[in-house]
């Protein structure tokens, strides 16, 4: 029997799955009636009891985030969804919103009601035009159906929802940078505390949640806490989307209980690219330390991945086989972090630049073994020394690759060049076309 548990993805195979009609037909927009007949605090307690943790990378309990919003404070509250999916390897929220934007909207209505917000925003990345169309249409349809706007379902709850389109800055996926961007500034992280729950958008109490986290709420309300907690592991409850990409025969989205392993996912999906073997992989995007073939049986939940020295992150499983040069892969990720560093904190702005210089030399087989220690020294001076986690993410692939593949760096130096033929790693090579 398959270990997969399609919930969010259950109706994606219906041609019109993204429409209001299809969502209703499939039982959508029934959780809000249930939620709006509960007290807001009961809704928060239900989400707390479910153990739902943030699916955007950090894994913070969603219900606790909601519970941090001060109540009776006579202030506006804001509910903000982080749809700025940009972490390399991460590709779950985008297909979710393309196939079913309404489940997010239903989750937003429930979340906003719970934290007593009358204004919500979806901050979506700007490089996915058709997803923007789908979400915009879904919002318009929800307004037409009386599910957004004034006096929703006659329960006296008002909610306005605005889609805000970003413009190509990875850093805006960091929640405080997102808020600065939404306020109309350059997207640069804020020093915390205060946390957004106290001083978020326009310095008012604000919840910022990932798309998948919010989209998971309607099913929890409808099916109950026991249903949700029956899935997953002791501290990582429920189901989640795992995104398999790279050198596999069949990449794609797999919704499974937390705690499934890469070995199991590969068995279900069809394995590593035929004729090749697993070399390294990321459990949750490029900011999570890499794993090797020694980690095939690590339970992919928050604790399991952490205990093995990485992070569950966004569950973006990027798979690389033996044709891939580790130095090239790490250099490219490092160039990404250098490009996306917002420039606010000196260790990150300058450090990522230097990391790229050293790695470029190493990839070309120039430099010396001392440069490997220099890389680690640079990482040590970057990690934990900036406002946000971008620089920590930049250090992750470097430190972990040196841990598992130090010899391969040295091989570059010995050969005076990269010993790999990049064409063998491409799909064209395996498909026999150019």
């Amino acid at each position: 029997m398959s270990k997969l548990t399609p919930v969010l993805s259950a109706n994606w195979d219906q041609k019109d799955s993204f429409t209001f009609e299809a969502y209703k037909r499939n039982g959508g927009y029934t959780a809000i009636a249930k939620a709006l007949s509960m007290k807001p605090d009961e809704v928060i307690q239900t989400v707390k009891d479910s153990g739902l943790r943030g699916r955007g990378g950090a894994g913070f309990p969603t219900g606790n985030k909601w519970g941090f919003i001060p109540q009776g404070d006579n202030k506006e509250h804001y509910f903000v969804v982080n749809a700025d999916e940009s972490e390399p390897g991460t590709c779950k929220d985008t297909p979710l919103l393309m196939a079913n934007p309404h489940v997010l909207i239903e989750g937003i209505i429930i979340g906003s009601y719970a934290i007593r917000a009358n204004h919500a925003f979806i901050y979506i990345r700007g490089e996915i035009t058709h997803v923007v169309r789908r979400v915009q249409q879904a919002i318009e349809d929800a307004y037409k159906a009386g599910l957004l706007g004034k006096n929703i379902l006659g329960k006296g709850f008002d909610l306005d929802l605005v889609l805000h389109v970003g413009a190509g800055a990875y850093i805006c996926g960091e929640e405080t940078a997102l808020l600065d961007s939404l306020e109309g500034f350059r997207g640069q992280p804020r020093l915390r505390p205060p946390f957004p729950a106290i001083a978020g958008l326009y310095a008012k109490p604000t919840v910022v949640n990932n798309v998948e986290s919010v989209a998971s709420v309607p099913a929890i309300i409808n099916n109950g806490v026991a249903w949700f907690t029956a899935m997953g592991t002791e501290k990582s409850k429920g189901f989640t989307l795992y995104s398999l990409s790279g050198h596999v025969n069949n990449p794609g989205q797999f919704e499974a209980p937390l705690g499934i392993t890469l070995r199991e996912l590969l068995e279900i999906s069809g394995g590593i690219r035929t004729g090749h073997k697993l070399k390294f992989w990321t459990p949750g995007g490029s900011s999570t330390p890499i794993f090797t073939d020694a980690h095939l049986d690590v339970p992919l939940d928050y604790e399991g991945v952490s205990a093995a020295g990485s992070m569950l992150g966004t569950k973006a499983l990027q798979i690389f086989d033996e044709t891939t040069c580790i130095v090239r892969a790490v250099l490219r990720w490092t160039e990404f972090y250098k490009h996306e560093s917002c420039g606010k904190c000196t260790p990150c702005r300058e450090g990522t630049w230097w990391l790229v210089q050293v790695l470029k030399d190493l990839e070309a087989g120039r430099g010396s073994e001392a440069d490997l220690d220099k890389l680690l020294d640079l990482c040590d001076n970057i990690m934990g020394r900036s406002f946000c986690a971008l620089a920590d993410g930049a250090a992750s692939p470097i430190i972990s690759s040196l841990k598992y593949f130090r010899q391969e760096y040295l091989d570059h130096l010995a050969a005076g060049k990269c010993p790999f033929d990049p064409m063998t790693a491409t799909l064209f090579e395996s498909a026999g076309v150019k």
Binding site: T5, W12, S17, C91, A99, L182
Partner: protein, 208 residues
Amino acid sequence: MAYTVEQVSIMDSIINRYPRKRSAIMPLLHFVQSIDGYVTNEGIELIGQKLELATAEVTAVSTFYTQYKSKPVGDYHVGICTNTLCAVMGGDAIFESIKEHLDIENDGVTNDGKVSVEHIECNAACDYAPVVMVNWEFYDNQTVQSTKDLVDAARAGNPPAPTRGPNKLRTWKENSAVLAGISDGLANEGVQAGEPTLLGLKKAKGGA
């Protein structure tokens, strides 16, 4: 260029979406690109007037975000993913061959103004690698040849439809309006999902 009364009124409606008007700066910049093709000085000045900001403040925001262009791009702006996964799977080869094919560098525009090219970072479609975007629409599972065909057809004014997008590829300016929040009514066109998106569901249902 001067903006029409209608355009200025659309800008007002964009501002009215937000509790505080400064929040409208990003959609307004997308909107300027939908009229001028890039962020012009005239656009920056008008946004500054509307939001009661100095032009330097608007420029500071505009230059922070890579989607806002300081000079014209092509009618069809091609983004080739060269972040690690796509690069390894073929994105690097595609990027190099397209630059050579069009005889332009990164961020360059063809002489006829039809096609521009830039290498992009991860576009959240890794299960469709290598990925190419045109005007931020998905062209999945590309090869060197398919991308050459794509840019040639775009230069001839007849680009193929996106893999997951509307039935017909819209121009850079037209899509910039969508990013400004102005509906073009095409949300219902195109597939709901591609095969990789559906693979887990298919396997769960016992499919081969």
